[in-house]
């Protein structure tokens, strides 16, 4: 991990406004922000660790815990809400057995919510590993997350 971070540092200058881009890059590489990496960033930018933590906890994009192999993001935007997004979220929570922000015990899925992904016209939307699934419904969700169990006949 340390080498990876050192390698990332070579691509940045130690200016303060690089803090967020740095954290974004580290998260992109490591999947989350290990505590150690935050300390390294503080040293690199010559700022207090508390400031790095402050930023790392302020923005919803940053994760301080490792996530699952796949990330499922449910849109909680207005258009999706009006079209039944809350119910979709409940279904997925039930299917995966976790709440938003949590990871399944087998480390397969992390469930997250987002304010809006900008595909509102196709609401409700769910994103799985950057792929957007539009106009989802209970049946599609079932197919997506429990393929073995689906015995639906509805067409």
């Amino acid at each position: 991990m340390k080498e990876k971070i050192t390698e990332i540092f070579t691509k940045f200058t130690d200016e303060r406004d690089n803090l967020i881009p740095l954290l974004q890059k580290i998260q992109e590489e490591l999947g989350y922000l290990p505590e150690e990496s935050l300390k390294e960033v503080a040293k690199f930018l010559h700022i207090p660790e508390s400031e790095v933590f402050g930023v790392g906890t302020f923005y919803s994009q940053f994760k301080l815990k490792p996530g699952g192999k796949k990330t499922v993001v449910v849109c909680r935007g207005t258009a999706c809400h009006v079209k039944g997004g809350a119910r979709i979220q409940k279904d997925i929570e039930k299917m995966l057995g976790v709440a938003p922000g949590e990871t399944t015990p087998d480390m397969e899925y992390t469930l997250e919510t987002v304010a809006c992904i900008g595909a509102c016209a196709l609401a409700p939307n769910v994103v799985v590993d950057k792929e957007i699934f539009g106009q989802v419904n209970a049946r599609k969700i079932k197919e997506m997350f429990a393929p073995a169990e689906t015995g639906t006949t509805q067409d």
Binding site: R16, D17, N18, L19, I20, P21, L23, Q24, E51, G54, V55, F58, Y59, S60, Q61, F62, R76, G77, T78, A79, C80, H81, V82, K83, G84, R87, K90, D91, K94, V114, A115, C116, I117, G118, A119, C120, A121, L122, A123, N125, K130, I132, F133, G134, Q135, N137, A138, R139, K142, G151, T152, T153, Q154
Partner: protein
């Protein structure tokens, strides 16, 4: 190369595409297209073309705005107008390759319309179809037509001529032109743009910044995303124009991280600009220097607020600070800074291309020009539209949007996102402009317009928005941090059926306190969705509180689902689909919902075949139905 050479080459490139003797295929490749499955369509297309050894020019275009018809594919055969096809499936794609590309049957049954000169029998002009007919597409003129990754396409259609013109003018002249155009900020508050530029230009200091606000935090809105994905150069041209007028040498685009495609297209576009000398040192030989840096947001709604946004660019927590000093005097790193929304910059570019007189012919006395809206929610034709300011809400919803989904009753249109409000039926005939929306208790906002029908509960919507702002409050001001929390609690209990006498008054009182006691626009406007729904839908609040009823049949704790024994045909569909396994029944046994197990998800209601219509949703009453499955009466199906 002079601009004339560049333009000549660009027009040449565009014309050779337009007049090519090959088949041209345009694929909608914006986020909504992708969400609808554009990738499988394009894979299918390529495979089919290859199989048949057909060579065609394939162009990835942005979104024409008819998102409900995605995935969209347009085909132009030499000498024929372009024909649009919607709701594409791999199967339809194969059919089109065979029928239209190989043979000559344009399949009017699948076509949405034709675009451009000439006509095809049986196919109407796409721009005369209801959704597009009454739109005035200025900002979106290129979206869906050009390849957003080709600067030459943009230039061939008049792009960068506004910049060229600007560079021959003094900054004062440019600002004067903007002022005369009547352009007002498209990011929410509607401040006159020319005047804003002037403040920053006059501010003392040699180092100045400009910012493009592409945070688009309003959930349910995607105008800025579509524009950046479909025509990034129009925004960038506006920024370079602004840099000259204001005297800025550095610009930032703060784009939300949820928009990876927009960010990618911006990066490609800025590289192309540098090659042509539209960006960088000594722009077009005039000695003007200007650079643009793209900053990715990190998921915080409050960072759309200008001072928070600047803190975020500086690498800090995105917390707003008091104004004054205004950004025009002391913004980014304490230097004079001008911030505008994506659409404002794009409007500035087109104004400089075509002149203020032309632009100001659109719109109303005080709200000039056009505005894009993301028309979504319970509406037939969802998508991105652009209309002259002042069009009535009714025209937007019924003429362009095709009315409420499934012929249901219109309840409200929500504009302005979490800062805005709901416009009820009585507002349908009011014009949509800055003043009228404010008078109705809402705001223009950045252009999200969410349509709600009889089954959308205004109390639930108020609860939804307050939960949103509560979660996004940066926590600096106590009234915002704690007031929204209290409002959320009250709204939650009302929705749960535990509302108390006096709750409405409490909400109003806290709401007013949050409005007056908060530093930034987030807190100042957070109570709006609550206050406007109380103003227009007080009856709904009262029904929840006093009768424990949700008239819109939305709030889970106040509704029940039943299967009507005389209508149930024991088809097992609801039983198999119920995610909670709450439906009992069997072959020839009338199904029954176990009310204790039912999670009110509504799946049974949705899947029950229309011809049976056996599932009902009620509020405030209990139906007398059997609690155990009973055999169907003999003689039934």
């Amino acid at each position: 190369m002079t601009f004339e050479d560049i333009r000549a080459a660009a027009i040449n490139e565009w014309d050779s595409l337009e007049k090519s003797d090959q088949v041209r295929i345009y694929l909608g490749s914006a986020t909504c297209g992708r969400a609808a499955g554009a990738k499988t369509i394009s894979d299918e297309l390529e495979e089919e073309l290859q199989k048949r050894n057909i060579s065609a020019v394939i162009t990835q275009v942005g979104c024409i705005g008819s998102c409900y018809l995605e995935p969209l594919v347009d085909i132009t055969k030499p000498g024929k107008p372009r024909i649009s096809y919607g709701n594409m499936t791999p199967k339809k794609m194969v059919e089109l390759v065979d029928d239209y590309i190989v043979n000559d049957n344009p399949r009017p049954d699948l076509a949405l319309g034709s675009i451009g000169e000439g006509s095809v029998e049986g196919i109407t002009d796409f721009f005369q179809t209801p959704m597009l007919k009454s739109q005035v597409r200025i900002i979106l003129r290129n979206c869906g037509f050009i390849d957003p990754e080709k600067i030459n396409h943009y230039i061939a259609r008049g792009g960068y001529s506004g910049l060229v013109r600007t560079l021959t003018m003094t900054p004062d002249q440019v600002i004067e032109e903007l002022k005369k155009s009547g352009l007002r900020g498209r990011g929410g508050a509607g401040f006159p743009t020319g005047q804003k530029w002037e403040f920053c230009q006059r501010a003392p200091g040699n180092e100045k910044y400009i910012i493009c606000n592409a945070d688009e935090g309003d959930p349910g809105a995607f105008m800025n995303r579509s524009l950046l994905e479909g025509d990034p150069h129009s925004v960038l041209e506006g920024m370079v124009i602004g840099s000259h007028a204001i005297g800025a040498s550095q610009g930032y685009i703060y784009c939300r991280a949820e928009y990876p495609l927009a960010i990618e297209r911006l990066k490609i576009a800025t590289d192309q600009m540098r090659k042509y000398g539209f960006l960088g040192k000594n722009i077009m030989g005039t000695g003007h220097n200007f650079e643009i840096v793209i900053k990715e947001g990190a998921g915080a709604f409050v960072c759309g607020e200008e001072t928070a946004l600047m803190a975020s660019i500086e690498g800090k927590r995105g917390m707003p600070r008091p104004r004054p000093p205004f950004p025009a005097i002391a913004g980014l790193w304490g230097k004079p800074t001008n911030i505008n929304n994506v659409e404002t910059w794009a409007a500035a570019a087109v104004i400089m291309q075509r002149g203020w007189e032309w632009y100001s012919q659109f719109g109303t006395e005080k709200s000039k020009g056009t505005k894009t809206f993301a028309l979504v929610g319970k509406i037939e034709r969802t998508g991105l539209i652009e209309v002259p300011l002042g069009m009535t809400l009714r025209s937007i919803i019924y003429d362009i949007g095709g009315g409420v989904l499934d012929g249901k009753e219109f309840k409200a249109a929500q504009t302005g996102g979490p800062s805005g409000g709901c416009l009820p039926q009585s507002n349908l005939d009011s014009p949509v402009d800055y003043e009228s929306l404010a008078a109705a208790g809402s705001i223009m906002g950045s252009g999200g317009m969410i349509v709600m029908d009889e089954n959308t509960c205004p109390v639930d919507i108020a609860r939804y928005f307050i939960s949103f702002t509560q979660g996004e409050s940066c926590g600096k001001c106590v009234p915002c941090r704690l007031g929204t929390r209290q409002m959320q609690k009250i709204l939650q209990r009302i929705c749960n059926g535990n509302g108390e006498q006096g709750d409405i008054e409490k909400l109003q009182k806290i709401g007013e306190t949050v409005k007056t006691g908060s530093l930034c626009g987030l807190g100042q406007t957070a109570p709006n969705p609550v206050l406007t729904t109380i103003r227009y839908f007080r009856d709904d609040y009262e029904a929840h509180i006093h009768d424990k009823k949700c008239p819109s049949l939305t709030c889970k704790d106040l509704i029940r689902f039943y299967i009507l024994p005389d209508k149930c045909q024991a088809c097992l569909i609801c039983l198999r689909n119920c995610p909670a396994e709450a439906i009992l029944g069997g072959k020839r046994m009338i199904h029954v919902i176990d009310q204790d197990k039912c999670t009110k998800c509504g799946t049974c209601f949705d899947v029950c075949p229309k011809k049976f219509d056996a599932v009902v949703r009620v509020t405030g009453e209990k139906l007398d139905v059997p609690d155990e499955p009973v055999p169907m009466l003999a003689g039934k199906a």
